[in-house]
Symmetry: C2
Subunit: 185 residues, 2 copies
Amino acid sequence: MANIVPVSFVGGTGGQWQVESITAITGDGLAPVEAVAIHDGHLAGVPAPAAWVLRGTNSHGRYVDRAQQTGLVAVQAPIGRRGSTCAALIPIRKSPAWWDLTQDERTAIFEGESRHISSSMKYLPAIARRLYQARDLAEPFDFLTWFDYAPEDAAAFDELVAMLRSTREWQFVDREVDVRLTRAS
Amino acid sequence: MANIVPVSFVGGTGGQWQVESITAITGDGLAPVEAVAIHDGHLAGVPAPAAWVLRGTNSHGRYVDRAQQTGLVAVQAPIGRRGSTCAALIPIRKSPAWWDLTQDERTAIFEGESRHISSSMKYLPAIARRLYQARDLAEPFDFLTWFDYAPEDAAAFDELVAMLRSTREWQFVDREVDVRLTRAS
């Protein structure tokens, strides 16, 4: 992942993605909006009349090893496929207890106990996923994950997020919002 | 490292730290300035009449394991000690080849081959160090490291940076600038 992709998700009245629901899973939610627009780069503020902006950067992986990476590359699909008219934007923040762990301890929970990547593999390539890092940006969330998929894979997506939320890793999530979106095909 | 510390290093005419030298070690340098000021948070632009701003965030470690962390905490000193009137600000960028490596491969080079932490331990606590992450901020550098020390430890600091620059890890550094600074005691 030699290149980075900085983006801003703008929640407001305009944008390609219509908001179906915004659900506060853990902690504070986000203000209701009609649509989400995705801008290249990190916007400096909230452009009127939007209600919120979430900034993040698609960057290098922090836990995946070479064997897992090879497995992922073989099966994963890119976001933005033509038939992927359903999406979810899931911002999460992890607790101080998570960030007090060292890299080896976080990795042991992430994959060793929670099997974050290996358990997710069965949902590929139906569900496409892109992770944006936000913690170093001093944002209110640590990560923003974008998922997109065809309407017929909506039940599989619900199963995937339920599986992730049941892991030990998710016990360290202290804020999570689930934004579901659709767009015209 | 449950808290993050976002900062902006402003190179211009004012600030607590007087610039002694700015040396381009690898790749493009930085414009000459008289002084560096350190601001809390990420400034949105370059405040006139400054020449440059470098933004970064002191955040959680990405390579250190629990045993190393315990060793570091036992011996390291905080930045900003009263007698630390010498400092160095060393921004570096790593190559696409580095960022194409997976976490296990980067860790193997960082500590396994290059012994970044273990070889640096002998310079503690004389040399204090704080790392700021900048890559996810879409900055021109990936990391900014601030070191400070007493004038009598300047030779030890030169030895430390020479040691780091001789490692295999440093073969992945494709831009590096070395800014040396002093302040009144």
